[in-house]
Symmetry: C2
Subunit: 456 residues, 2 copies
């Protein structure tokens, strides 16, 4: 088994050399062939996906995977169309390779350019969502990187057929080398992969904090972590009430199992008495459990009681069963489920401090009609994506127009936020001269550098 | 002691919040004040530097530091002018903050921008060169990052006065906060620093592979490694002979104690018989030890003997004492000294393979008049800096026109090569909308994204 991963990594290293010089046309043709093949094989792919879905009920019952994980397995419906559309969208992106974002004349006949090039061999370990596989594969191919992939075992049938269909389709195009993409299948494969720092340039683990930390602690390969998304929707005193309701409900409920779903609602004390109730009601109607701090809980209960008293006396609050006390732990928790924590705050300063302290530097939004407050939030919140009057769910490579994403990085080095094509490249400095030596530019009579920026 | 580092890190975290919003004018004024103060205090600084230099002789004799390390201590002469010039050059650089290299309209009234911002708190552990301190401090201040610094203990007197002069000068400018830069002094301080992942965003260790690996293995903080520089000068068959000699001598001898010095000379078999001898002679005249592979050794000895025979018979090769056999280990060694390894190769393919296999992905140059060969070398050598007809010693942030450098990264994530201002920033995605929710952009009747690139 060890040998198998070693061979895949060696093949990937060889393939990477070929991919790095593969013309844009060939890469794009391969991507379109992949899109066509997936669309053509829709029934076969969905049949394999159904096997995973059928098995997931038992895994949930046995407590082996959560409902949230099971919910991500489904490939059918509009999600399948999104897979095909995503492949075409990556083909339509400009070439991320050979770009020169910076160039400088150092002296006459001596120029330096920063030129983008592939990272090399990338290992991606991703969670149960099989629709992530085509995204990752297409981004790597377009950016000239070879790929070793390991998906969740509960999605193995789906991943196997997707990997086979994509690999075969890509290799119908001249120049796409064998071994450009390999699907790894076991946990032991991951362990083997982590030891192959001679062949692998980057590991992208997608998962919770503990998983990412485990990977980092057990490899000498560079790691780009895709960690928890503890995302906040902050309803500022100057929020437009309908927007506050829409954005909170969308952020929490539109797809709760993903990292850019809202986990915490922050609301200003000035508007909580009037605005918290309709937001909480809208969430409760979607079945969302409300983990409220004492102040939020008091407002919700008071308002609910008031309503009941006005009506017919001693009825219980209609969503009492959904109301819980928030603990300190809740502010640090990624639920990935129909649960939201709620905190009432004095205002902008406290909100920014809360987000920076408890958040995971992923995605946070402010709902306000006050432009100055919005600008302060956008500037001072230290997160990869900071949003104004828009749902946290928009934080996504495809929605941003990056084509797709290989992950969302909480790190502050290199690629942060949705990591698309550019995040899968690095640059080299290319210097062209005509025999210059440093000795001439050193010492008391040193020749001066011109340092004139060049057109890029 | 632990408390002291903790307090410095907490102060740095607070300072970072203020630095991040400090206007460009204030940052530039602080840099110019730093340059003026260093120039004004030249005699005091050099007096402290002399204490370190005096002590270093004993340390070398005791085997505690190498001659190469001792050689880096000296601050006087043109190096001092370079320090002042470097500070002014950083002030003259464009603002690295608030730059928007990428922006996209997602839909009408919904825009996303990638905006550069500081990384936060940076810990830099640097080697004996005290002139690195002002470079690092100026780059961090300009890029809005707070700094915790630890230099080599053999440069403590120099570092102390530099840190004090720079800190005091910067803080004469309104808005530069206390604690923006702190000098740490002991090895225990480093250990304490590595545990402070709550306050520190990035560690930059400058040193050999083992040191960088030690740091990586002992912290959860992100590490940007500045490792060995095993740099190659490759003399191609179509090399211009005078350039080959000049570039090799400059690469090896102009400042052998630094990471961009040439450590290995590769030369094509086609030209070795005629060109290796003059190169080896020029190196030997500078006192460089030659670690030659069997073929190179044979050429050098044959040629030297021929010379002697033509003259007066049985004299020994004039630099026999400098000639050694290269071992496999030599191809992987950063000498940082007047030593060079020499290998004779079949041609371009072997040279590229040697550099990618044995090098440290730092800086490599090809000497050739054949443009196609040069382009292949520049494209296929996987190093942070790839050069054509120019000495490896040019691989440097100041020379490239980046103002200065905080280090030279061998990594392939984020900043690679000389890391200047831009390498000390990261971006956030900023999205401004007007109440959009993802639900409207999902499902069968999804609203389409416009994805129109915006002017940056």
């Amino acid at each position: 088994m060890e040998d198998q991963v070693l061979k895949a990594a060696q093949a990937a290293r060889q393939a990477a050399l070929r991919l790095a010089v593969l013309p844009l046309d060939a890469r794009n043709h391969a991507l379109l062939a992949m899109a066509d093949a997936v669309a053509r094989r829709r029934d076969d792919i969905l049949a394999e996906n159904q096997k995973d879905i059928d098995a997931s009920d038992r895994l949930v019952a046995e407590g082996k995977i959560t409902k949230a994980v099971a919910a991500r397995l489904k490939l059918g419906g509009s999600k399948f169309d999104g897979v095909v559309e995503g492949l075409r969208s990556v083909a339509a992106q400009p070439d991320p390779l050979g770009q020169t974002p910076w160039a400088m004349e150092m002296d006459k006949g001596l120029e330096v350019r920063r030129v983008s090039c592939p990272i090399g061999v990338i290992g991606v370990i991703f969670e149960s969502r099989p629709d992530a596989l085509p995204q990752i594969a297409s981004l790597c191919l377009k950016s000239g990187n070879a790929l070793l992939l390991k998906g969740g075992s509960e999605a193995l049938h789906s991943n196997r057929i997707l990997a086979r269909v994509l690999d075969e389709a890509a290799r119908t195009v001249d120049g796409v080398p064998n071994g450009w993409m390999t699907l790894l299948e076991t946990r032991q494969d991951i362990k083997d992969l982590l030891a192959l720092d001679q062949y692998v340039d980057l590991i992208v683990p997608r998962g919770g904090n503990e998983f990412v930390q485990y990977i980092m602690d057990n490899t000498n390969i560079l790691v780009m972590g895709h960690r928890d998304g503890i995302c906040h929707t902050y309803v500022h005193a100057a929020a437009d009430p309908p927007k506050a309701i829409r954005l909170t409900v969308d952020g929490k409920c539109q797809y709760p199992a993903v990292c850019n779903a809202t986990e915490t609602l922050l609301i200003d004390r000035a508007v909580a008495p009037t605005l918290l109730m309709p937001i909480a009601t809208a969430l409760a109607e979607k079945g969302v459990e409300l983990r409220a701090d004492p102040e939020a809980r008091e407002i919700i209960l008071r308002h609910a009681r008031g309503k009941q008293n006005a009506a017919a006396g001693e009825r219980v609050c209609p969503y009492q069963h959904l109301l819980r006390d928030a603990t300190e732990e809740d502010w640090r928790t990624e639920y990935l489920d129909l649960i939201i924590s709620i905190r009432v705050l004095a205002g902008l300063d406290e909100a920014i401090a809360h987000v920076n302290h408890y958040g995971s530097h992923h995605t946070d939004t402010i709902v306000t009609e006050d432009a100055a407050a919005a600008e302060r939030f956008l500037r001072e919140v230290d997160s990869a994506s900071v949003l104004h009057n828009v749902s946290t769910r928009f934080s996504d490579g495809f929605r941003y127009g990056l084509g797709a994403e290989v992950g969302i990085s909480n790190q502050k080095l290199h690629a942060r936020g949705p990591v698309g094509l550019e995040g899968l490249t690095i640059y080299k400095y290319v210097v062209r001269g005509s025999g210059q030596i440093v000795a001439d530019y050193s010492g008391p009579n040193a020749r001066k550098f011109s340092h004139r920026p060049l057109p890029c």
